[in-house]
Symmetry: none
Subunit: 250 residues, 2 copies
DNA sequence: CAGCGCCGTAACATAATCGTAACATTTACG
DNA sequence: CGTAAATGTTACGATTATGTTACGGCGCTG
């Protein structure tokens, strides 16, 4: 079916995994003072990181979105958009929501620090700082950064959920889901095979603000089943009597 | 429920395989005439490109999505799906939205050319052509290649936005947009298919200097829809309840 | 300064979704 | 088999989110 020369195919399959897995962490430096950029860049590269540099706030957002860095060093004072603004902005988007951000600032005022952390910064570094301190804090935030990353695309059997476009397909069919059905399915797909009680589902999918009858879950399970299965009888939701429901192979 | 090919979703919003920077550019040749394939293949390889070949429209879409070529040479007349269709199709998906496409055609009629460019082709080559011309144009589009979101001309389905001249067309129709509507549409076209919350849109399209009610977004969506759709009922903006809006195929 | 286009908001209209109760069916178990 | 408990299914009124319209204000431009 695919017409490609064997040479190409081998080449590509050789190269692809390499970059994905054991490449160096990429650090985005957001800083307009050339001297500091040079300093940071030199230290980070010496320590085995890859770096890219943004000179202003706009560029920072651009690069953060396109290059998917593993961490961001973000200067407080910037042209076009302040570091604070950039930080808040990045935190609004799923792609960058969980990238660790270390704020750099000339002042060490408590208030600024708190504001920075409020906006979603992970750590805080006061100029002047030693390269050792920088690297230590960087290692720390990178270490902590593991579990946050929710997958953008969830797959279970022939069901695909794309959280970016907010679409669900089963095989080749596009599935339309109401909001609660979507959240319910997402929760199941985040923990495939695991059984959840009605109470647990109410907690996680509904939230604990309003009291809802446990039996209401049944109704939404029914709606989700109907939407997912169409007319075929391949039910991916398993009822575990006395316990709850799980996403499971038919 | 609509039917979509599984290939469409295979890589949707996933990261495409990233090739090492110093590898040769990969060119996808879409052409059913063997003689021309041979010619193109020989010339491209001599000039230092890697090539893969698709013999029909279906295969073209498949390979474009799975192999992430750096550019596509696309014949106008094809089995299964016309080059025009393939072009439009590829432009609908984020992964292939920004791959440069050069259309190949036997005829040099102005009208075809315009239609091709409307569908999102980057350039146009009339058979017979000299290898020199081919390579020159290829170099040109590769040089210009940029992520969709930084492109000067954005294309989604039959909508074209030229940021240089600040013009928007849908099919043959010129669309007049107020400034906010323009920025809103631009943002959607920079991230086709992606859902944005009202808050995110206020951040990116409005900017956060002044506080604006989230519901104001609805009104501008309405105005944009009205301007784009005319009287036809082909709405390219999808409402995702409780979440936001996205640019999407009708 | 009058007219025009654009914007943000509130108010009202419409549509989608939700939660619940009531009834139907299945299951477990003696 | 027969019964009780658990789950499946359905229909419907209430609620909420979104669609739509109209209006006043503001900044330009002629």
């Amino acid at each position: 079916m695919m017409q490609i020369s064997s040479q190409d195919f081998l080449l590509r399959n050789d190269k692809l995994p390499e970059r994905a897995k054991d490449s160096k962490p990429l650090i985005l430096i957001v800083e307009d003072e050339e001297a500091i950029v040079t300093l940071l860049d030199y230290n980070l590269r010496s320590a085995g990181y890859d770096t890219i540099v943004a000179r202003d706030g706009e560029e920072a957002v651009d690069l953060a979105l396109t290059m998917a860095p593993n961490a961001i060093l973000l200067d407080w004072m910037l042209p076009l958009r302040s570091g604070l603004e950039v930080c808040r902005h990045l935190r609004r988007f799923p792609e960058t929501n969980d990238v660790p951000i270390i704020m750099l600032t000339a002042r060490s005022e408590e208030q600024d620090k708190l504001r920075g952390l409020d906006m979603g910064a992970d750590d805080y570094l006061t100029k002047p700082f030693s390269p050792q301190e920088l690297l230590a804090r960087l290692r720390a935030v990178l270490r902590r950064a593991q579990p946050a990353r929710l997958k953008e695309i969830l797959v279970f059997a022939d069901i695909r959920m794309d959280q970016g476009s907010h679409r669900v397909t089963r095989g080749e069919t596009l599935i339309e889901l109401a909001p609660t059905e979507f959240r319910l399915l997402r929760h199941f797909m985040q923990f495939p095979g695991r059984v959840f009680s009605r109470e647990q589902l109410l907690d996680t999918v509904w939230g604990r603000e309003k009291e809802v009858e446990p039996r209401t879950v049944d109704v939404h399970i029914r709606r989700l089943r109907k939407a997912l299965n169409g007319k075929a009888d391949s039910d991916v939701i398993r009822t575990v009597r006395e316990v709850g429901y799980s996403l499971d192979q038919p």
